[in-house]
């Protein structure tokens, strides 16, 4: 048991750091959590990584993965967080990609995986429905077989960044007589299909990053069914566990704490830098301690995975603690900026004005980011659902 990096790992870190320094688009530097970007901005780094062969590190090598050890992947995350890069979006890379290479057929793999690897194809996720949030399995969208097609009808919601999407993966009910989790299928839908309509939802920070997606008589070829009909719940659960494992966001939160320290060094309290105030500094130290614990917990989980265990219920702990830390970080940032938390300078996502901010730059989105990040304890299986999972799977109650 040790925390040291081998000389090979240190060399790898150097390689990664140089590659980022030389190749990362200058105009997207230090972008942080802002998302007011064009489709091209979102995909720029993804495409560069795709050409380098580094866009999907965790995938099996045969589909484009890098074959890196968990330690290398850890280094990779750290270096990207250090440079605040705009990372490939998870919908293709961490969600539908693993489902397709694990459960899809050869044709589906050949057709869909390369676009994810290269960053050419933008995916979105059609899981939640207005009446089916935490209780995902109560979804009502139907896919009815009609010859060589499914005809899909229903309404999805919280489809993140669907406004840019080329393809979506949807959970649809294919057997209306089956109970809850049975009778659901996992279907890939071309978002340009007639009958697909995407309407933005304005969020409380003022931005638009999620949508309602309406499907009206959308005809989808049966070959877009992944795995077996009515077995979609299995793939959905697989995907959710995968989604959670990345959700801890340790490296990003580390960078976030650095930024918080910079802000607090610039703000003043009683004539001295805020970060010299013991009361505030203590909160930052507590957050660092919580994050240090989460980092080791994630590394222990990774070590378990390396030893052959899949992402299990431990990932629920990573989700809970990771989002608590992310939210606390935005809360402390809001507190640090004080008076200038009040002016509204546009949302976190694509609604912001181009005006020069009132007050310091770092204050401009502090409140919006705080508001926006409340979502993290709600989405990806709410933190209450995660506690239910731990109750069942770890406590055995």
């Amino acid at each position: 048991m040790n925390l040291e990096f081998t000389p090979e790992e240190q060399a790898f870190r150097e390689e990664v750091r140089s590659f980022i320094a030389e190749n990362y688009p200058k105009h997207l530097a230090d972008f942080g959590m802002r998302e007011d970007m064009s489709r091209e901005d979102f995909l720029a780094w993804h495409k560069i990584l795709g050409r380098k062969g580094w866009s999907v590190p965790a995938w099996p090598v045969e589909y484009g993965g890098t074959g890196w050890t968990p330690t290398q992947r850890y280094i990779w995350s750290e270096e990207n967080a250090r440079a605040s890069t705009v990372m490939p979006l998870p919908f293709g890379v961490s969600m539908v990609g693993p489902v397709i290479y694990t459960f899809g057929n050869a044709e589906q793999k050949a057709r869909h995986l390369p676009g994810i690897v290269s960053g050419e194809v933008w995916w979105c996720q059609g899981y939640s429905e207005p009446g089916a949030g935490s209780d995902l399995a109560s979804l009502k969208t139907t896919a009815v077989r009609d010859g060589d097609h499914y005809v899909i009808n229903g309404q999805k919601t919280w489809t993140t960044l669907a406004q840019h999407a080329d393809w979506g993966f949807f959970l649809c009910r294919t057997d209306p007589t089956a109970k809850a989790q049975e009778g659901i299928s996992f279907i890939l839908v071309d978002m340009k299909s007639p009958g697909v309509e995407v309407k933005p939802i304005k969020l409380l920070d003022g931005g638009y990053e999620v949508n309602e997606t309406w499907l009206t008589d959308v005809r989808v070829p049966v070959e877009n069914l992944v795995g077996q009909e009515n077995k979609g719940w299995t793939y959905a659960k697989f995907l959710l566990a995968h989604e959670r494992s990345g959700i801890a966001g340790v490296a990003r939160s580390k960078r976030g704490i650095e930024k918080l320290r910079e802000i607090a060094a610039n703000e003043t309290l009683e004539g001295a830098p805020l970060i010299k105030d013991f009361d505030f500094a203590k909160k930052v130290s507590q957050l660092e301690i919580d994050l240090a614990a989460l980092e080791i917990t994630e590394l222990r989980t990774l070590a378990g995975e390396q030893a052959g265990k899949g992402p299990g219920p431990e990932s629920s702990i990573l989700k809970i603690k990771g989002t608590e830390i992310q939210q606390r970080l935005t809360e402390l940032t809001l507190e640090a900026v004080g008076t200038y938390s009040a002016p509204y300078m546009g949302g976190v996502s694509n609604d912001n004005s181009n005006e020069h901010p009132v007050g310091p730059d770092y204050a401009a989105h502090a409140a919006a980011t705080y508001f926006n990040m409340r979502k993290t304890s709600i989405y990806g299986g709410s933190n209450e659902i995660q506690r239910n999972i731990i109750t069942k799977m770890i406590l055995g109650l």
């Binding site: 209780d135 004539g271 002016p343 409140a367």
Partner: protein, 376 residues
């Protein structure tokens, strides 16, 4: 000891409650915020008509002789409807400075306009580097013959876009952060040399950055004694804190009720989410926090007339306790609303935003816990 409201206070509450319910519906509020003006002068006129704007002034000054408890009753109703009109800057702050520090001439000049709704004030005290210290001022007022010349930059002056007049704090002597040397002035906003940058705030109000460049004002603009303004500022802001706490209590009451109601309606796993014990107990904790906030707001309000240490301790206790309750209730209300809680469409998010900004007004939880410790 007496914890009952007077009959008159009950009538004020009922009247305001009706006004908010009937004329301050959610869609109208939303449109007002998005409009060019950003507020509803016609509501302001109605408040004047109802006597609300004159409530805390003595009858001799043209008001209705109300006190801190009346302001509390009024603010709680405003909080329930997230009323954005500038009662605190105009009536509580400017009114407070005039009441406690104004000369007969100043009262004569301004109070009538406040009571009638014609004069709207904003209170320009915060500065970019001053945080929550009223004495940490870079804005200066230099004596020039019988006049003063103001220079400086005031940050996030709530209600300034709507104001005809400003109350301004500035340093007339001493070093930055000294207790002495702080003075208070009343200034017409259209005085030469004052410029503003106006904007919307995240909780739907309006505010300005206010810049003073060699603004010449007469000696009669000084409220209270030169250089002795800090004690007056502390008294008036303590009154403003008590009023703002009452507003937060109103907002929390509604946020809690909305959440309980949502939990009754919203079904998941075939049952209302309000049937889940975990959410029940969390809503109980929200309720308990709300009751705590109400009690501390009563305490602060009833101690506004006590000696300085008692007053400050009670007010700081309230700002701490209400701030903690506001954070808990705001965050939990959104969480229990789930995805809908983070949309612009649902009202709950707007209560959450108002309750968030509350903490940064007149000193946050940490600031007031420190003040409480210093006084203990």
């Amino acid at each position: 000891m007496d914890f009952n409201f007077t009959e008159e206070q009950g009538m004020v509450r009922d009247g305001l409650s009706r006004l908010v319910r009937e004329q301050y519906d959610w869609e109208t509020r939303r449109k007002a915020i998005a409009s060019g003006a950003g507020w509803r002068p016609e509501v302001w006129a109605q408040l004047a008509e109802l006597g609300i704007l004159g409530m805390p002034f003595s009858e001799a000054d043209g008001g209705f002789g109300g006190g801190a408890v009346d302001a509390m009753v009024i603010m709680e109703e405003f909080g329930k409807g997230l009323v954005i009109e500038p009662f605190v800057p105009t009536v509580v702050c400017a009114g407070g400075f005039l009441k406690h520090g104004g000369t007969a001439a100043q009262k004569e000049e301004h109070i009538g306009g406040i009571v009638s709704g014609e004069r709207v004030f904003a209170f320009a005290y915060a500065e970019p580097k001053g945080r929550y210290d009223y004495a940490d001022l870079e804005t200066t007022a230099k004596k020039d013959g019988s006049a003063y010349v103001l220079n400086g930059h005031k940050a996030v002056v709530f209600g300034a876009p709507w104001a005809s007049h400003l109350i301004v704090t500035a340093r007339t002597g001493g070093e930055r952060r000294d207790r002495s040397g702080v003075s208070v002035f009343v200034v017409a906003k259209d005085t030469a040399g004052i410029t503003t940058r106006d904007y919307v705030t995240v909780d739907g109000r309006r505010a300005s950055e206010v810049y003073f460049e060699n603004v010449s004002i007469p000696a009669e603009a000084l409220i209270g004694a030169e250089g002795e303004g800090l004690a007056l500022i502390e008294l008036v802001t303590d009154e403003a804190i008590a009023a703002t706490c009452a507003e937060a209590c109103g907002a929390m009451k509604v946020a809690h009720a909305m959440t309980v109601e949502y939990s009754r309606q919203r079904k998941q796993f075939g049952v209302p989410i309000g049937s889940f014990q975990v959410l029940q107990h969390r809503m109980v904790d929200m309720y308990t926090a709300y009751e705590t906030a109400v009690s501390l707001t009563y305490l602060a309000t009833l101690r506004l007339g006590s000696d300085e240490v008692e007053r400050k301790k009670a007010v700081s206790a309230a700002k701490v306790g209400v701030g903690q309750a506001a954070r808990l209730i705001g965050q939990e209300a959104v969480q229990i609303h789930g995805g809908n809680g983070v949309t612009d469409e649902y009202a709950i998010g707007h209560y959450f935003k108002r309750l968030t900004i509350f903490d940064s007004e007149f000193g946050n939880v940490d600031h007031h816990l420190k003040r409480h410790v210093a006084l203990s």
